[in-house]
């Protein structure tokens, strides 16, 4: 038995050795993520957090398609979608059938708050950075405030006033919606402060500049009908002496002119198989269109409606960017706008984003304009018209945009009331900005969003649909949140 005892001792000892040290064994090691303090203390860390924030706020590739087209074009009298798999989602917007479970609008809500979170993380921590000069500190702070404010403008246009979250340090799981006034006030304050500290020339293409902050602010004043403020900010922009109308409107959105004098704020795109480009042309090429071998033509089709095409003056250079007839790969001539009898086909294609011959695949390099100088000019004209009625400054501003497109000046005698000139401005804006995702906001501002839908035969379009619903998941996870009326 003695030898058994020895062996037992050895095995016992082995057991003890194996059992000890378990806690250390089970400690979770971090291999692919970072300790937060790595980034909240250095300039490069600050820039990385800002990059994260920009990535959530900027809308390119499919995010651009969903926000600018599904939500802001297909809900209007300007464009529609047909065929392909996208049609199932697109038709909900075309026919005003979206509800609180809609994944496209819900994704937009989440994305904007993710951008806000990232900006808040930076603003919470940037005070602790000791290695930066005051100027740089102010500039990075201003960029974060710009991103956060711009995200709030998108939320405001889409959902109305939503919870105002201004810090990431204490997480509020049940915030209430901000009042309309405090939301507007916050956006104005933040954009104004950001504009003060931002440089005229951005740190890199796509980051915030003084013009970007002022441009977003000008548009916000316009859309919230703060006419005098809108006009004043437009003047500030003009006085920067940085921006001008690009001479050739037909080449403005070509990839060669990405860095032009007309874009105040834009989302940069690159030709890349990784998915950071502009994908509108793959949706726009007509069926069986003779594309280059390095392009892609999707099954789904984005169309400019026939009444829009027909409203152009034949001399309007902007009409050149719309394809109404083409010869397909089989050599047949295909009409897109009207058939041989003149009946509307509603199938014209916008080539505003001039196809990028160097693209590889779906993603083209055409930047996505967010605020351009023509918009500032027309916004000021609209503000002045609403302040003072038709006046010569307003006509000059409109004519500048018209002349660039090869159109003559407006005849002032045709527009005697504010309403008449507003109607003309709505038309001018469509000719100028079709396919840029501005139509829904323009119609809402002019009070025609719902009525024009009903006029198109969409009987279930209701007044409350000027706002999209707060996502259902959001309401369910936060009892303090109230849905927009009507939903």
């Amino acid at each position: 038995m003695k030898q058994y005892k020895n062996i037992l001792c050895i095995f016992g000892l082995l057991t003890i050795i194996i059992i000890s040290g378990c806690k250390k064994f089970l400690q979770e090691k971090i291999y692919t993520q970072y300790n937060p303090s790595t980034f909240t203390s250095t300039e490069s860390g600050v820039q990385l957090i800002l990059t994260g924030a920009y990535s959530e706020e900027t809308m390119i590739e499919y995010n651009m398609r969903d926000y600018f087209y599904l939500m802001n074009e297909f809900t209007t009298d300007e464009m529609n979608d047909a065929n392909g798999g996208l049609y199932a989602s697109a038709q909900l917007f075309m026919q005003f059938k979206w509800d609180a479970t809609n994944s496209t609008t819900s994704a937009q809500y989440s994305r904007m708050y993710t951008a806000i979170r990232d900006a808040n993380v930076l603003l919470d921590n940037i005070k602790n950075v000791t290695t930066l000069s005051t100027t740089k500190l102010a500039q990075y702070t201003a960029e974060a405030r710009f991103i956060r404010a711009e995200a709030y403008t998108v939320l405001y246009y889409t959902f109305g006033a939503t919870p105002l979250i201004t810090t990431a340090q204490s997480i509020n799981l049940q915030p209430t919606r901000a009042s309309d006034d405090s939301m507007k006030q916050f956006i104005v304050t933040e954009l104004t402060a950001a504009a003060a500290d931002l440089p005229v020339t951005p740190r890199a293409y796509g980051t915030a500049s003084k013009g970007a902050a002022l441009g977003v602010l000008c548009k916000f004043y316009l859309n919230t009908k703060q006419w005098q403020n809108c006009s004043d900010v437009a003047d500030q922009i003009v006085n920067l002496n940085t921006y001008s109308l690009f001479p050739d409107i037909t080449r403005l959105c070509a990839v060669q002119n990405n860095h032009n004098s007309e874009y105040l704020y834009y989302y940069p795109c690159v030709t890349s198989p990784a998915g950071y480009g502009n994908i509108i042309m793959a949706h726009s090429f007509p069926l069986n269109y003779p594309i280059l071998s390095n392009w892609v033509n999707f099954g789904t089709k984005f169309h400019i409606l026939t009444p829009v095409v027909n409203s152009f003056s034949p001399n309007d250079r902007r009409l050149l960017m719309i394809d109404t007839i083409y010869k397909n790969l089989s050599g047949q001539t295909v009409r897109l706008n009207t058939d041989a009898q003149g009946n509307p086909l509603n199938m014209s294609a916008s080539f505003k984003f001039v196809p990028d011959s160097s693209s590889l695949g779906v993603d083209m390099g055409n930047y996505v304009p967010m605020v351009r100088y023509a918009d500032i000019l027309l916004s000021k004209a609209e503000a002045l018209n609403n302040l003072n009625g038709p006046n010569s400054t307003a006509f000059d501003l409109i004519n500048a945009v018209r002349n660039r497109a090869g159109l003559p000046n407006l005849d002032p005698s045709q527009y005697t009331t504010t309403q008449e000139l507003n109607d003309e401005l709505l038309q001018e804006r469509q000719w100028e900005f079709y396919g840029e995702g501005l139509r829904r906001q323009d119609l809402i501002r002019m009070g025609k969003f719902i009525s024009s839908a009903q006029a198109r035969g969409i009987t279930n379009a209701q007044d409350y649909q000027v706002l999209f619903p707060i996502p259902q998941t959001e309401l369910q996870s936060n009892p303090n949140l109230k849905q927009n009326p009507g939903y």
């Binding site: 095995f11 990059t51 065929n83 479970t101 990784a274 069926l287 999707f298 369910q476 996870s477």
Partner: protein, 1126 residues
Amino acid sequence: MFLKIMWNYPFGKKRYFKKTLLIMKFTAILLFAACLQVSATGFSQKITLSQDNVSLRQVFKEIGNQSGYQFFYKDRLIRQAENVSIHVTNATIEEALDQCLKSQPLSYSILDKIIVVKAKPNLPVAIQVSAILPPVPLNIITGTVKDEKGNPLAGVSVVLKGTNKGTSTDVNGRFSIDANIGEELEFSFVGYQKKNVIIGQNNNLAVIMEIEATVGNEVVIIGYGTQKKSDLTGSVSTVNSENFNKGVQTNALQLLTGAAAGVQVSQASSAPGGALSIKIRGAGSINSSNAPLIVIDGLPGADPSSIDPNDIKSIDVLKDASASAIYGTRAANGVVLITTKKGGKNMPSISYNGYFGVQSAAKLLNVLNATQYMQMVDTVTNGNNLAMPYTASQIAAAGTGTDWQKEIYRNAMVQNHSLSFSGASDKSNYYLGLNYFNQDGIVLTSNLQKYGVRFNFEAHPIQRLKINFNIEAQKGINNSILTTNAANESAGPINSAIEFDPSVKVGIDSTTGQYYTNPSVALNNPLALLYGVTTTTTNNRSYGTLSAEYSIFNGLTATLRLGDDNIDYRTNSYTSRLTINGGSTNGSASVNYGGSNHWIAEYFMTYNKTFNKLHHLTIVGGSTFENTNTKYVISQASGFPSDILGVNVLQSGLQSTYQLNSSIGQNRLNSFLGRLNYSYNDKYLLTASARADGTSVFSDQHKYAVFPSIALGWRIINESFMNKDGILSDLKLRASYGTIGNQAIPSYQTLTTFASSGTTVLGSQVVTGVEPTRIPNPDLKWETTAETNIGLDFGFFNQRITGSVEYFHKNTYDQLFYKPLPASTGFANQLVNFGSAVNKGLDFLLSSQNISHKLFKWRTTLTISTLKNVVTQLPDFVPTPILGGTIGTFNSQYTEVNVGYPMYAFYGYKVAGVFQQGDNIAASAQPNAHPGDLKFFDRNGNGKIDAGDRMMLGNPFPKYVIGFNNNFSYKGFNLSVMVNAVEGVSTLDVNTLESLYPINTYRNRYSDVWLNRWTDQNPTNKYPSLINPANYGGALSVNSLDVVDASYIRVQNVTLSYLFSFKNKHSLKTLSVYAAGDNLLTITKFKGYDPDANDSYVGNSSTLEKANYNSYPLGRVFRFGVSMGF
């Protein structure tokens, strides 16, 4: 000592090689010399020797050289022996040995050509006395031992009862032993009943041994030990190799199809090496993995596709909590224990199994031919007031056009060769398996090749120590077709073969260098996808366990087991200019390299003791440590100067297109386990087990959790009140309860971290930032399943009919849910524990020897499992029903998770019919509809068709899974027929959906949907007009027309074999040839390729959602095979 004797063994004798089969040479080359204990049947049995005063060792060496026998002895013993003189001519071994040992304190015994020399036992006085008496002359008794079928049995132990004398039978079943008339010989062999023969006048015995059919001596592997089947209290299904599902198997789990009650094996994809789904008693977890734990020879987490089915001895499935709790947190979905073969106790043997087969698509889909297609396109475009693309004369000239399915499918070859060598001595045994498998896919260009080698070695170097070493190395090369649920230009070849324009001709357009195409379809030509998209995955895997088992004293053993599993893979993919995507990117390539390492160190002790012959106790206790590391790197590039070099030179692509991803991860587990088995008088059985599991992925306060279980059994048959002469031969009642966990939790969920995330374009280039990752939940803990199992085992007519019926109830609670956080926090969700789901049902097994005639035998096995899966509690923080499921690019939210319904039940609109001419459409719930549009059921009765009208349309879990296997044998012929049935299961048939709602007009579709559509002349209520599907499509497209019944009955396998019998002299011991057919017949209402397939598996191997979309066609296989034993 051990090795020393080995080297005494005479390898060099030429005679030996001459007389032995050529193939034996290979053995010698392939095996380690240390394990080689080949017998020497070819040696002379007669010894001629004349030596004086030489050492005993030298005499033994000489006798060994002459006879080929091996000597085993202790050095010390022989050193002490005196020198001997020996003079024999043509003597037997025994005579020679008797002479040289006569004056020595040594005795010998001969077993199996091995001579063991030992010290003479101190004989009891009585025998010493009798030894003085004149010896009774000994008889040499010879004989042959055969089994019931008349096959010789090698390695049967033959012992003269009451003595140490014994021998064993040789390869031909022959033996010889010295014995006297009236003495008794005892024959024993594993798996056979012991047989005693009293020696009479006949010196040449013919002994037939019968297979042991007595209750419960079968041993079942239960994890960290074995148990007699009769002592089982939990639910364990054991499938031995003879009951395996036969067929072209690339994954060990396929062997279980239809063979184990409660186990549903589905072939998600029939592509070579395609995905497999196994569900044991349904699925308990809503959001985590529902895959069982696979354990190969004690190594958990092993890959069942990396083993040759021929190397598998048995598969044990631990189904209930009591059986599986010993595996703790990974056991919630059951445990599959795979045991590989060992060297038998017989002579060295070589066996070869091989087959050749031809596979063809079991079914082709009926789609429109060219004429019908052109008419369809014209009808739809005309119906939408657009110009018709085809003229009447074009249509008239079209004919049937191209059948794209026939263009991409082929009669494909499959072959498998398995060669094994095994052998044993009393101190060790080995098994070496070599495997080559080569399967061409039914779809052109697809192919799978596997090369495997397995080596199992077991040794008892010293008496109390047993060492086991199992190792497998496998290489797999898989050329796969593009398998994707993407649409349009990104769709795969099978989608294209179904939906491509049949009027397009086969071949390459000489002007473009591309396959002919119709750009209006927005699909690649199917052949362009087959030849233009290449994906090759090379997999190298090696795994094994090394264990040492030491018997500390009688009944107590300690086991140390080390296991390691290494995987390395490389996937090369190239998309060439033959395709739209490859053309637009000038060729795109990706190389994905990765792998993982898993190691385990376990230490446990087992105590086994019987008290007073009534109390039997087994206790196991131990601890384990496991570590898993994973890694990968993906590099991609496009814009290549040419397609020629493919993935070989990524750097020749455009630099701006480079993409890199890499990752590394670690997961650790530390556990303590224990089990107690107690039985009283073979009547009352108790099993209690517990496992404490700790993991790295939880916070410190929740690192460990304990999973206990208890089970009771009552062997009623052994009660005195049972009449054992009656019909009943076995009756046992058992019940168990226990909890088990589900570990599938992603890393870092309890930590606050930043991750590289947020990629966008700044400064004209793509840049990536950092973002906070989550709001951590330190309270996160295991998802837990509590399971009750009640079972009754029975046997009738002396076990000719046996079976069991079991009821189970599994409640899976503390489910892991991503609790949506208000998006205003900037975070989408947080992983929390909430909610529960229940699986309950019956497992029924019946096995019967219907006819057991000497010549004709008929055996039947029937398994039936029923299942009811229901969600019982959901968190209030998620909208219910929880909608999910994405199949294809554009079909989502087709499943619901809701209280009172099965998990991932099909959810959509119910079709009530088709609007007819003259219906009062304006007053209906779809006032804008046209005649010919689908009419939906207004479930909530609110007068319009809206989201509230959606309802459950079907169940993704079958109500019944049935396996019905019959085996007939007549003389050498054997016929086995395996039939499987799955009842009460639905699927979303996306190919039907796309026939109703094509992505565009130019897509081909199921011909019956188009040809039987509603028209003015055909006012059917089944299919709509199909002219403007948008009117009744969009969100309405998931409806009761495309959620269809996927029940089926399938003749899975029919095998007819013939076993040749040989006269004894042959070195070929057994030869059997067979012809087999797999998937011969499927009876189903389902229209697609295979109701059992699941295409929601693409990219997610554990999803519960079921959908069929462009499935890889099921193969009907005819195989011819041979198995040989030497």
